[in-house]
C-alpha cells in the first residue's frame, strides 16, 4: 500500500469488549490515515458506539490496542488522549447544560488551548461557530436548542479543539436534509485540510459520500471492510440493513 510509510493517525488493533458474557465488540481493527475519513456503520447494537468509547478512552477494552499518532494510548485516560489531539461528539448529546452555546465551544477551545501552543481559544471558538453556522445561537442556553442545533454545537465543540482525529457519533441524527448537506460539506472541508475522521452514522448515503473507506459491523464483528465502492456493492450491506438474513432464517 502506498500509505504504508505514513504513520496512521489512529490504529486500533483487534479490539474486544465483553460486557459479562456478551461480546459487544469482537475483534475489530480500524486504521485511519491523516486526511482520511472512515465510516463505521451497522444496525443498532452492532457495537459502533462501544467502539468509539474504546477509541476515545471512556471504555476500557477487554483486549486489543489503540495507537494514536503511532503511540500506544490503550492505557491512557480519555483526557490525555484528548490532549494528544483526539476529540469526539456523542450520540446522546452531552452538552454542558448550564452554559450558553458560546461558552460550550469556548470551554472546549480552552481545554485544548492549554496543551497546544499558539492556540487562541477565543478566536478559535468564534471561527468554528461561524464555520458551522451557529454564530446566531451563541448566546442561547442549551435548553433552548432543538436537537439538531445541539448536534451542531457538539461538532463545533469538538472542532474547537483543532483535533488531529475527530470521532463523530451520529452527527446527523435529528438534522434536517439541508442541515445534513451543509454538515457533510463542512466535514469534507475538514478532511481535506488533513484531519482524520471516524464517522459513526445511520445515514448511509452521507457515509458513502463522505468516507473513502467503510467498515460494516454487525453483532460486534466486521462484516465487510474496504473502500466505499466495494462496501456499497457488497450484498452484506443490504442484508444487514434490510434484514434479509433474518428473513432467510425464518
Amino acid at each position: 500500500m502506498s500509505t504504508a510509510t505514513v504513520t496512521p493517525v489512529l490504529a486500533a488493533q483487534d479490539i474486544r469488549v465483553n460486557f459479562g458474557g456478551l461480546a459487544a465488540v469482537g475483534g475489530v481493527s480500524l486504521d485511519v490515515m491523516p486526511g482520511e475519513s472512515v465510516g463505521l456503520i451497522g444496525p443498532n447494537g452492532s457495537g459502533k458506539s462501544t467502539m468509539l468509547n474504546v477509541l476515545s478512552g471512556l471504555q476500557r477494552p477487554t483486549s486489543g490496542t489503540v495507537r494514536l499518532l503511532g503511540q500506544d494510548v490503550t492505557r491512557l485516560p480519555a483526557y490525555r488522549r484528548a490532549r494528544r489531539g483526539m476529540a469526539r461528539t456523542f450520540q446522546r448529546l452531552e452538552l454542558w447544560g448550564s452554559m450558553t452555546v458560546a461558552e460550550n465551544v469556548r470551554t472546549a477551545a480552552d481545554l485544548a488551548g492549554r496543551w497546544k501552543p499558539g492556540h487562541q481559544a477565543a478566536e478559535v471558538a468564534e471561527e468554528v461557530m461561524t464555520a458551522i453556522g451557529i454564530s446566531h445561537l451563541a448566546g442561547r442556553e442549551i435548553s433552548e436548542l432543538t436537537s439538531g442545533q445541539g448536534r451542531l454545537v457538539e461538532v463545533a465543540r469538538a472542532l474547537a479543539e483543532r483535533p488531529s482525529l475527530l470521532l463523530l457519533d451520529e452527527p446527523t441524527a435529528g438534522l434536517s436534509d439541508t442541515e445534513t448537506r451543509q454538515l457533510t460539506e463542512l466535514l469534507a472541508g475538514i478532511v481535506a485540510d488533513g484531519t482524520a475522521v471516524v464517522l459513526v452514522e445511520h445515514h448511509v448515503e452521507m457515509v458513502l459520500s463522505l468516507c473513502s473507506r467503510v467498515t460494516l459491523l454487525d453483532f460486534g464483528k466486521v462484516i465487510v471492510a474496504g473502500d466505499t465502492e466495494t462496501v456499497r456493492k457488497a450484498p452484506a450491506l443490504r442484508e444487514v440493513y434490510l434484514g434479509a438474513r433474518y428473513a432467510a432464517r425464518t
Binding site: S143, E144, G150
Partner: protein, 668 residues
C-alpha cells in the same frame, strides 16, 4: 468461649435489626431510585407513636405494635410517594438528596413536637424472660424475636419479588419504568407499594431496637444510619447481600465491644464507628456502576454578578458592618458574626456542591478540624501562623477525602462524605485530646491585628465581613474564569469533559481542597467568635442542615448563601430568644426547614431563582401589554420568547415538570 457466644448472640440480634432497616432502604431505592435519608427518622417517629399507644395510653402491646407497623408506617410511605417522591424523577441529585434530608428533619421535628425531647425506656417486647442453652449464656425472647422477624422479612421479601405477580411488576418498573407503563403497569402503584414497604421496615426496625437503646431521637436516627453500610455493601440493590452484610456488621461491632481493650477510648470508639468504617470502605472498594452512568442533571444558573458588582457589594457590606459594630451591642454583633461565618460555610458549599456538583455532607466536619487545629497550633506558635497552618492542613485533608470520592457521584458520594462526617464525630471529635473531655469545650484563641485584640464579637465584626465578602468574590471569580467553566463542564457532563481534555481527577481534588480550606477557615473564625468550641457544634447534622438551607435558597447561587445566612440567624439564633421553649423551637426549626425544602421539590433551583424568574415573567408581561397596544402580533412573540424555558416546560400540557430544564436535545 462463653463470653464469645454472649457477644455473638448480641451481635446476631443487632445485625438482624440492621438487616430489617437496610432491606427497607434497598426496596425503596431499587424501585424509586431515591435513597431515603429520612428512613431512620420515619422509623423513630413510628417507634415513638408505638410507645405512646402502649405506655402512655395503655393499649395492649400487640395492638400498639400492630397499628404502628402495619397501619401508620405504610400510610406514611404511601403519602410520601404520592405527595413528594413522584416529583423527584428529573430533579438534580443535590436537590433530590435535600428532599430526603428534609424528611429526616421533618420527622424528627414532628416527633419532638408531639412527644418532646425527653428520653424514655421502651419496655422489652416479650418481657425479660429467655432461654438458657448453657450456663452463663442467656438468650432473651426479644433477641429470638428479632432474628425470627428478620428471617420472616427476608423470606417474605424474596417471595414477594420472585413469587408474586406484583413482585414481577415491581422488577419490571425497576428495569424500565416507561416500558412497564406501556405494558399497562401502573408505576405509581408500584412505587407507592415500595415506599410503604420501606417505611414499614424502618418503623419495625426502630421498634425492635428501641428496648436496647434509650428511646431518644438521636440514638434511633444514628442507629438506622448504621444500616446504610449494609445497604451499600449490597450496592443498594441486592437484598441477600444486604442481609448478610447487616448480620456481619452486627456481629463485628459486638465482638469489637467485647474484645477491644476498654482502657483506650480511641479504640473503643472504633467499635461504635464500625458501621461507618464499613460504609466508607464499601464505597471505596466496590464499583457503583448504576449511579455513575446516571446523568447528573443540572440546575440552571443565572448570569453571575460581575466582579466589580460583587466587590462593590462587599465594600458596602464591610462599611455597614463597621457602622453596625459601633452601634450594635455585643449581642447583636455576635448574631451578625455567626451569620457571616454561616455565609462562609454556605459559600464553600456553593463551590463544591453548586458549581462542582459534588454533594458534601461534611462541611461542618472541616470547620471542626479547622477550629481544633488552630487552637492546638496556637499554643505553640503565633495566632496567624497557626491559622495559616490549620487552613493548610484542612486543605490537605479535604484533598485526601476527595481521592476515594473520585469514582463516586450522586448519592454514593453523599454517603461517603456522610460516612466521613460521622466517623469524625464518633471516632475523632469524641477524643479527650481533641475537643477536651467528653461534653466539654475547647477554649479557642482570638486573633489580634496590629496590637488590637479582636476578642469581642463587636471587634470581630469588620474582619468577618471582610472574610465573608472575600469568599463571595473568590467564588464569583472562580465561576467567571476557567476553573469555574471546568467545574461546570465536569458537573454537567463528565463524559464530554474528559473526552475533550479535562482532567476530572485533578479538577475534583482541587474543588474539594478549596472548599475544605474555606470551611476550615470558617471554623477557626467561628471558634474565635464564640471563644469556645464543642464537638456537638460540628456534627453531621449541622452539615445536613447547612446543605438544606443552601438548597432552599439555590445551591449554585452566591447571593443565596448570604440569604441563607440571614435565614439561619433569624430562624436559629433569634427564634430561640423569642420562644422560651427549646424543644418547641427545635421542632419549629426542623419542620420549617423540612417543609420549605418540600416546597422546593417542584422548583429545585431555589428561592432566589424563583424570584428572578417571576420578576422576568412579570416584566415580560408588562412589556407585552405595552407593546400590544401598538403592534399586537410582534408583542405576543416577544412575550413568549421572554418566558424562561423551564416555565414554558412546566406550562406545557402533559409535559413532565422540569422537562424544560433537562438539556434540550438529549438525543431524544
Amino acid at each position: 468461649m462463653q463470653l464469645f457466644l454472649i457477644y455473638l448472640v448480641a451481635g446476631v440480634s443487632t445485625g438482624s435489626i440492621y438487616a430489617v432497616a437496610a432491606s427497607g432502604l434497598v426496596v425503596t431505592y431499587s424501585t424509586s431510585r431515591v435513597f431515603n435519608f429520612g428512613h431512620g427518622a420515619i422509623g423513630t417517629f413510628v417507634a415513638f407513636f408505638c410507645y405512646w399507644l402502649w405506655a402512655t395510653l395503655g393499649w395492649p402491646e400487640w395492638a400498639a405494635i400492630g397499628i404502628s407497623v402495619l397501619l401508620l408506617a405504610p400510610a406514611i410511605g404511601v403519602a410520601l410517594d404520592a405527595s413528594i417522591m413522584r416529583w423527584l424523577a428529573g430533579v438534580p441529585v443535590a436537590q433530590k438528596l435535600a428532599v430526603t434530608l428534609a424528611l429526616l428533619l421533618t420527622f424528627e421535628g414532628l416527633t419532638q413536637l408531639l412527644w418532646g425531647a425527653g428520653n424514655r425506656t421502651m419496655p422489652s417486647i416479650l418481657g425479660n424472660g429467655g432461654i438458657q442453652p448453657m450456663s452463663g449464656l442467656h438468650i432473651s425472647y426479644d433477641e429470638i424475636l428479632t432474628v425470627v422477624v428478620a428471617l420472616g422479612v427476608a423470606v417474605g421479601l424474596w417471595a414477594l419479588l420472585h413469587r408474586t405477580r406484583l413482585g414481577t411488576t415491581m422488577r419490571a418498573v425497576v428495569e424500565d419504568r416507561d416500558l412497564a407503563e406501556l405494558h399497562s403497569v401502573n408505576p405509581g402503584r408500584v412505587t407507592a407499594l415500595s415506599w410503604a414497604i420501606g417505611t414499614t421496615l424502618g418503623g419495625l426496625s426502630a421498634i425492635l431496637i428501641a428496648p436496647d437503646l434509650t428511646l431518644s431521637i438521636p440514638n434511633l436516627s444514628l442507629f438506622v444510619v448504621s444500616a446504610y453500610a449494609a445497604a451499600v455493601v449490597g450496592r443498594l440493590t441486592s437484598l441477600p447481600v444486604t442481609f448478610a452484610a447487616a448480620i456481619g456488621i452486627g456481629i463485628g461491632s459486638s465482638l469489637m465491644v467485647g474484645y477491644l481493650p476498654s482502657s483506650n477510648q480511641f479504640i473503643q470508639s472504633l467499635a461504635g464507628g464500625l458501621p461507618f468504617i464499613v460504609l466508607v470502605l464499601a464505597l471505596i472498594v466496590f464499583r457503583h456502576r448504576g449511579e455513575a452512568l446516571q446523568r447528573i442533571r443540572v440546575a440552571r444558573e443565572g448570569p453571575p454578578l460581575s466582579l466589580p458588582q460583587t466587590g462593590g457589594l462587599t465594600a458596602a457590606g464591610i462599611i455597614l458592618a463597621l457602622i453596625a459594630a459601633s452601634f450594635f451591642g455585643n449581642f447583636y454583633s455576635l448574631m451578625a458574626d455567626i451569620g457571616l461565618v454561616f455565609a462562609c460555610v454556605l459559600l464553600s458549599l456553593v463551590l463544591i456542591t453548586g458549581m462542582a456538583g459534588q454533594v458534601s455532607l461534611a462541611q461542618f466536619s472541616f470547620m471542626g478540624i479547622g477550629v481544633v487545629l488552630v487552637t492546638h497550633f496556637s499554643s505553640v506558635m503565633p495566632y496567624w501562623i497557626a491559622l495559616l497552618l490549620a487552613v493548610a492542613c484542612t486543605t490537605v485533608i479535604g484533598a485526601i477525602v476527595a481521592l476515594p470520592a473520585l469514582r463516586l457521584s450522586g448519592v454514593y458520594l453523599a454517603l461517603l462524605t456522610l460516612g466521613f462526617a460521622i466517623l469524625m464525630d464518633q471516632v475523632v471529635f469524641v477524643n479527650a485530646s481533641v475537643f477536651g473531655s467528653v461534653g466539654g469545650a475547647l477554649n479557642v484563641p482570638t486573633p489580634s491585628l496590629f496590637g488590637y485584640q479582636l476578642d469581642t464579637a463587636q471587634r470581630l465584626l469588620p474582619l468577618l465581613a471582610l472574610v465573608a465578602g472575600g469568599y463571595g468574590i473568590v467564588v464569583v471569580a472562580i465561576r467567571r474564569h476557567r476553573l469555574g467553566r471546568n467545574l461546570a463542564a465536569m458537573r454537567d457532563s463528565p463524559a464530554a469533559a474528559s473526552a475533550l481534555g479535562l482532567n476530572i481527577t485533578g479538577t475534583k481534588v482541587t474543588a474539594f481542597a478549596i472548599a475544605s480550606a474555606m470551611a476550615g477557615l470558617s471554623g477557626a473564625l467561628y471558634g474565635a467568635v464564640e471563644q469556645q468550641a464543642a464537638a456537638v457544634q460540628f456534627n453531621y447534622l449541622a452539615s445536613l442542615n447547612a446543605l438544606l438551607i443552601l438548597v432552599l435558597w439555590g445551591a449554585s447561587n452566591v447571593p443565596g448563601a448570604y440569604w441563607g445566612a440571614v435565614f439561619y440567624v433569624v430562624g436559629f439564633l433569634e427564634l430561640p430568644r423569642l420562644v422560651n421553649n427549646p424543644s418547641l423551637v427545635q421542632a419549629i426549626q426542623q419542620l420549617g426547614v423540612g417543609f420549605a425544602v418540600f416546597g422546593m421539590a417542584r422548583n429545585p433551583d431555589g428561592v432566589i431563582r424563583q424570584w428572578v424568574d417571576n420578576h422576568r415573567i412579570k416584566a415580560a408581561k408588562r412589556a407585552g401589554r405595552r407593546a400590544a397596544k401598538a403592534r399586537p402580533l410582534e408583542a405576543a412573540a416577544q412575550a413568549a420568547a421572554a418566558v424562561p424555558a423551564s416555565q414554558a416546560g412546566d406550562a406545557a400540557p402533559g409535559g413532565r415538570t422540569l422537562a424544560g430544564r433537562v438539556l434540550g436535545g438529549r438525543g431524544r
